[in-house]
């Protein structure tokens, strides 16, 4: 990333953070993640949203429709952020921006955004053990961002900007596969 881009994104993130409570900020991040994952999983919607040849108004309508379908009561900052990206033709960089979000929060706000990828939704109580561990290890406050992947076998995966915990069933099955191959 060049310095100009970094400055733009930093000012955007700063405006979100400075105008909101930490809880509200985390909510915005979660909403953005949800929308980002949904767009990434639906190629056709992604194509229309990122196609700069399409009319901006139509693209905005599609984006708003998508947001309202996904979120019951979306935060106005989430909407403003997404509309800003769309108008500036930066929506195709959403994946990268979300990735950069993690670095920003870890560096500037002492907040570790941890993605929780699981087949079924997991409650905070189940994850509290891991939250405590990550907070102790990284000396940062942890906020979970949940993503459910129905194709997963089971278990979960925790992923943050510089590490991950893989507690998926797939990993365990792959271990069995390795044991058979290596005849251990």
């Amino acid at each position: 990333m060049n310095k100009k881009e970094e400055a733009i994104y930093y000012s955007l993130f700063q405006s979100i953070v400075s105008n909101n409570e930490p809880k509200a900020t985390v909510r915005i991040v979660r909403e953005l993640y949800k929308i980002h994952w949904f767009i990434s999983d639906n190629r056709q919607i992604q194509y229309y949203l990122e196609n700069i040849l399409e009319d901006k108004k139509v693209r905005e309508d599609i984006l708003l429709l998508t947001v309202h379908k996904l979120l019951e009561d979306p935060c106005e900052y989430t909407l403003a952020f997404l509309i800003y990206l769309l108008r500036k033709n930066l929506l195709h960089k959403l994946s990268y921006i979300m990735h950069f979000f993690k670095y920003y929060f870890a560096k500037e706000r002492n907040l570790l955004l941890v993605e929780v990828i699981s087949r079924y939704p997991l409650d905070e109580q189940t994850l509290s053990f891991y939250k405590q561990k990550i907070e102790t290890t990284n000396k940062m406050q942890v906020a979970f961002v949940h993503k459910t992947v129905p194709n997963m076998l089971g278990g979960f995966k925790l992923r943050w900007h510089e590490g991950e915990i893989d507690a998926t069933l797939r990993r365990r099955v792959d271990k069995i596969k390795d044991i058979i191959i290596q005849r251990k």
Binding site: S118, R119, F129, L153, G154, L169, V173, I176, I180
Partner: protein, 162 residues
């Protein structure tokens, strides 16, 4: 008949003496020269013959000696060659044995490698099939409750490791 003709005797004597003088001064020196030359020639021929003869004898001796030496050498060469051939034969046999054993070792190694490879491939295929089957079965049987139980089990394992 009984009278002696002294004059005739004298004349005969004079003739004889004249003949002697003529022979002494006219014929004898040339004859002596020829005889001497012939004698010298014969002597030189004889010495040459003796020299040649000696040379021939020497040569014969030398040839005999050479022949003996050659025979010795031939015998020695034959023995050496025989020894060398024996050593070479032994070396060749040893080398052939070594090569054969090396080829056999290589073949054994190759067979072992192929065998291991085949086993590995079979094992890999089997492991992939098993993993796929397990995944398929798990995907169908894992519901929300089971998933929670699995997560609890994983947590217990993590806690026990710590």
């Amino acid at each position: 008949m009984g009278s002696t003709n002294y004059l005739l005797i004298l004349w005969n004597l004079i003739a004889f003496l004249l003949m002697l003088i003529i022979i002494r001064y006219a014929i004898w020196p040339k004859l002596f020269y020829y005889i001497e030359a012939r004698r010298k020639k014969i002597e030189s021929l004889q010495s040459s013959y003796e020299r040649r003869n000696k040379e021939i004898l020497d040569l014969t001796e030398k040839i005999k000696e050479e022949s003996l030496n050659a025979s010795e050498r031939r015998k020695k060469i034959l023995i050496d060659t025989k020894n060398e051939c024996t050593t070479m034969r032994k070396d060749l046999i040893h080398k052939a044995h070594m090569e054969a054993s090396s080829v056999l070792d290589m073949a054994r190694l190759e067979i072992k490698k192929e065998k291991d490879k085949s086993f590995q491939e079979v094992r890999q295929d089997v492991s992939v099939i098993i993993a796929k089957s397990i995944k398929e079965v798990l995907y169908n049987i894992v519901d929300e409750d089971l998933d929670k139980r699995v997560i609890e089990e994983i947590k217990k394992v993590v806690t026990s490791v710590e």
